[in-house]
Symmetry: C2
Subunit: 194 residues, 2 copies
Amino acid sequence: MGAQPEQELFLYDPSLLLKLDFYRSPAKFNPPITAVAPGEPWLKVRPLKTGDYRRGFLQSLSQLTNVGEISEAQFLNRFAEMRAKGDYYVTVIEDLRSNKIIGSATLVIERKFIHSCGIRAHLEDVVVDDTYRGKQLGKLIVVTVTLLAEVLGCYKMSLECKDKLIPFYRSIGYVDEKGNSNSMTLRYANQNRL
Amino acid sequence: MGAQPEQELFLYDPSLLLKLDFYRSPAKFNPPITAVAPGEPWLKVRPLKTGDYRRGFLQSLSQLTNVGEISEAQFLNRFAEMRAKGDYYVTVIEDLRSNKIIGSATLVIERKFIHSCGIRAHLEDVVVDDTYRGKQLGKLIVVTVTLLAEVLGCYKMSLECKDKLIPFYRSIGYVDEKGNSNSMTLRYANQNRL
């Protein structure tokens, strides 16, 4: 029902995902999989697209945290903002059998003055549907955006995580530096005025 | 030597700093100071300006980490990028006697789909010159950008810090949630292609 979107937009250039060298990552995949060959012919790793609102992208995210009620117009508005700013690399896994988004991770670029006007990366909002466990897809999506940050020229990438995920991220090359690996948060009562 | 810049640009609207309610912060200042009244008539808290390259902004940052050689043109280019993107709130303290930047902190806004297309804040690159210790200026600059994030409508602000700074950030209202307060980092060999 409803017309299919005639022309979908990618959030970022999908050809970037062809440049990732999975041999550069310390992460071990068994069997070996990559963003281009994710292990099943019906799985596709790609940038977020405008039509992913109808492919259950937000429902997938809701397994991670509170998403709230978001209309298609609101989704497209935020998508357009991210695309215009150019520093958002939301990367998804689609199940081509059901045309559903079954996982995603976000790489955000931050521009700095330090490190010779360097750029750094933040890993945000990693989720893979529970029903797809055992396919290394969590590792795949995280390594994908981690390698992408290197291709983009970042000097580092960092993330915040729960204790139980430390071994997982260590296996991918992330380090919890002794004496310097704390994340602290302040939550506000109000929100969402921008 | 050299002409003074005729018209300097602010990185963001300086009137935002008039909206901060320091009574909302759990941080205690003794004596009480605010962004508008930072305790000395010769101290000024304000957004980064284009002319701050000549006021030693980068020299101040170099007390924090490696800054590298940055020409004025490179500085102005990065400044223009940040200003165009609109989500960078680099906030500085100037000593009006010497016209030198003596501290700064950066608030970066990240746009999300989660939390009803919410926005969150990152605290980055906090530094205050050692020679200005004892004036509560570290606390002042951090509370300033923390309150600013609330005015902008963020649902949370987070930071990465060393162990020894945990009590300081707790006193300002930041929480290291049990089991969920890890920061991990991966550093790349290459950098800076964007």
